[in-house]
């Protein structure tokens, strides 16, 4: 007989001592310039901005603020490189440069992971085990396509688009840079990349890698800045292609701004994925999948499984196990190797998340948070779940981009599908069941670009990623990811 007393105790007892990753081997400069035309150059305005460590609020470095003049310089450098050495180079040789980038990232892996964790707040374990290896693998994968493009598009010959303007977000800074730069270069384009303003450092370290790898100047240009810098890139007439990853709101602005221009674009935007657990699922592994789906990377994931649908007959069991599992998640210093949930990326983002916690409670949802300690300084949010909410609640409809899960029950397959699709978003979805036929029916019915069956938040350079509906247009990764950077001709 289950009683409230049959509870497990997770606090106190044997605790893990701090296990900080060492930082004495990494090199972070006091100041970073713009990387244009193969050199590090000062910004036209002479202005710089701080980048801080969200776990300590301490400044890490200062980076250049690129204005329209700097962007113009970068685009011109990219165009020069495109017309010059890059398009004249044999594709196999182009590929070798990209292989070099992959190799150097592997060699400097620990430094990259540590800086990523410091700059953005994600746990070192994730940066070390997921972000950096995947970034290197992405360069490795696309390097191999450079001289094989004729096999990817039957009946068509291909040519690069030209200069690609690429704007990336703060949740996976290095990995998103890899997702953008690798395929663009492999297809023969040159790039102007703008990292997010709160996480510029690994992009600057990537600039150093590009320089050390000996790529011809101007093939990769990196300009740091915020929204205005991004707008300059989007509107610059010398850019042939825009690739953007970020919020749906900004994606709309970009698509509108590009109306009437000849620029091609791909957009990878927000999501509010349904993670669906059937009664015949492997329940304990499904609970782990919930945790990976919403608490991985502090929930700063566009494809996060932020709406849980659990079949009613196992709902009590699943929620109970989820709560127990939440108690074992360690929120804290991102540089501690045992940290599971790091710092929220910025004060602004934390305020946004907290406003949703407020909204969720006001809407009548039952909020539950784990009981772990959090440090005094820095931006933190404990893992949170809402029960007693439904499709009409804002916390269920809107993307929170934090470690906050909205839980609903369902009774039938059709109900689950209907509710999963009942959203303007369509980036990803999850289904947990032991029955293969149900998996394939789910994948047929859910309108999302990535369906994870009995797993979640799995990424691979060979696997295409991207959304339906307002989650964006275009795919990154895999053979299909080449489409974004090539013009096809009969």
């Amino acid at each position: 007989m289950a009683t409230p007393e049959n509870k497990l105790a997770f606090d106190g007892g044997w605790e893990y001592s701090p296990a900080p990753e060492s930082t004495d081997h990494i090199k972070v400069a006091k100041k970073y310039e713009l990387f244009i035309g193969g050199d590090f150059v000062a910004p036209a305005s002479g202005k710089y901005f701080d980048t801080i460590n969200p776990a300590t609020e301490a400044r890490l470095s200062r980076v250049a603020l690129a204005n329209a003049a700097d962007v113009d310089k970068a685009v011109k450098a990219a165009r020069k490189a495109y017309k010059g050495p890059w398009s004249r180079m044999k594709p196999a040789e182009r590929g070798k440069y990209i292989y070099r980038i992959a190799r150097i990232i592997q060699e400097r892996a620990r430094e990259f992971a540590t800086i990523e964790s410091l700059d953005g707040g994600k746990p070192i374990r994730e940066a070390r085990d997921v972000d950096v290896p995947l970034a290197a693998a992405h360069f490795f994968y696309y390097a191999g396509w450079a001289d094989k493009l004729e096999y990817a598009f039957p009946g068509r010959s291909v040519r690069p688009m030209g200069v690609a303007g690429q704007i990336i977000p703060w949740n996976f800074p290095l990995l998103m840079a890899a997702w953008k730069v690798a395929p663009a270069l492999a297809c023969g384009n040159t790039v102007v990349l703008k990292p997010a303003e709160t996480t510029p450092l690994t992009a600057m370290k990537l600039a150093e890698v590009v320089a050390d790898a000996g790529l011809p100047e101007g093939v990769v240009n990196i300009v740091t800045g915020a929204g205005d810098t991004g707008a300059s890139i989007v509107s610059h007439p010398g850019v042939d292609k825009i690739a953007f990853t970020g919020s749906t709101d900004v994606g709309r602005i970009i698509q509108k701004a590009l109306a009437g221009s000849k620029k091609k674009y791909t957009l990878e935007l927000g999501g509010k994925a349904a993670n669906i657990i059937f009664a015949d699922a492997a329940i304990d592994e499904a609970v782990e999948g919930i945790v990976n789906g919403i608490f991985f990377n502090q929930g700063h994931v566009c494809c996060a499984g932020s709406r849980l649908f659990v079949q009613e007959s196992v709902a009590e069991q699943v929620v109970r196990k989820l709560r127990d599992r939440m108690e074992t998640l360690i929120v804290g210093d991102p540089l501690d190797k045992n940290t599971d949930i790091g710092a929220i990326n910025s004060k602004a983002q934390l305020e946004k998340i907290e406003s949703y916690l407020e909204i969720g409670q006001q809407e009548g949802g039952d909020m539950y948070q784990s009981s772990c300690a959090v440090p005094d300084k820095g931006y933190w949010c404990r893992p949170t779940i809402f029960t007693g909410v439904s499709q009409s609640n804002r916390v269920v409809q809107e993307e929170i981009f934090g470690p906050v899960l909205a839980i609903q029950t369902f009774r039938t397959f059709d109900e689950a599908v209907s509710k999963a699709n009942n959203t303007p978003y369509g980036l990803s979805g999850g289904v947990w069941t032991d029955k293969g036929a149900k998996i394939f029916k789910m994948t047929q019915s859910v309108r999302a670009g990535v369906i994870w069956a009995n797993t979640f938040n799995k990424f691979d350079p060979t696997s295409p990623f991207g959304g339906y509906k307002e989650s964006g247009v275009g795919r990154e990764g895999g053979l299909h990811g080449l489409d974004a950077y090539l013009a096809l001709e009969a």
Binding site: A92, G95, K96, Y99, A137, F140, Y141, A143, G144, W145, A146, D147, K148, Y151, A152, F413, K435, G436, A437, K438, F440, K441, Q444, P461, T462, G478, L479
Partner: protein, 294 residues
Amino acid sequence: MAAKAKQQDVRVPVAKTYKIYIDGKFPRTESGRYFTLEDGKGRVIANVCRGSRKDFRNATVAARKAQAGWAGANAYLRGQILYRIAEMLEGRREQFIAELKLQGATQHAARKEVDTSIDRLIYFAGWADKYQQVFSAVNPVASSHFNFSVLEPTGVVSIIAPDDSGLLGLVSNVAPTIVGGNTCVVLASESMPLSAVSFAEVLHASDVPAGVVNIITGLRSELTEHFASHMDVNAIVFCDGARKTAKTVQELASDNIKRVIARADIDWSRESSQHPYLIRDTQEVKTTWHPIGS
């Protein structure tokens, strides 16, 4: 009293012994036999192992043992290993150029052959995690089934490398065979066998698991029939053109329906001779059906 003779400052170089490469080790041929390789002026360059059918048999046992593990390694890892082979070969560029020259090539031809071999390895490394995407299919069957076809390696492949190429011909056939998850036993060129043995050293330094590639030197007249007839070999890649021998190979291969892949008269130095169909040649197609329903 005689004056002490002045010592010459001459260093005696250490000559290399060429062995064969089986299961990640460098044994001599179990038969103890050898044949000599001579330069243009009739001087002996090296004693080369005259491999026996028992060597070949031992190599196929090693190849079979290694095959499941190699095929089970993920594509990314196989690609990384092939890239590593290229890195190692690049590091020994001068050695390989010198060795090809010793076997009769000009400086220019030797350099081109080594550089092309390195680039060819990189080419096939890049296919490791892509050929599946190009050659697989999801098939839209009429019934309510999810139906997909994927490539799977055929297994153990015996390769008779081109005789007229010391290095590039061997590399051009080994790389596409192993990148697809097969393991192989290679009969090196008879007239230019040295680079094959040195290449085995490169493989050995590249994290290639033992048994994935095995290299034997010896006489075609003695070994071809075993490469063609062994019942535990799934495919034979045959690079020498003589029609009579080709017919014999085909006949011997038929006993276990060995896949016969003839690649005769190919100029391996041309870019057009590298392509992913060389990978597909040693792959099977597996199709799976699964219901779609609740």
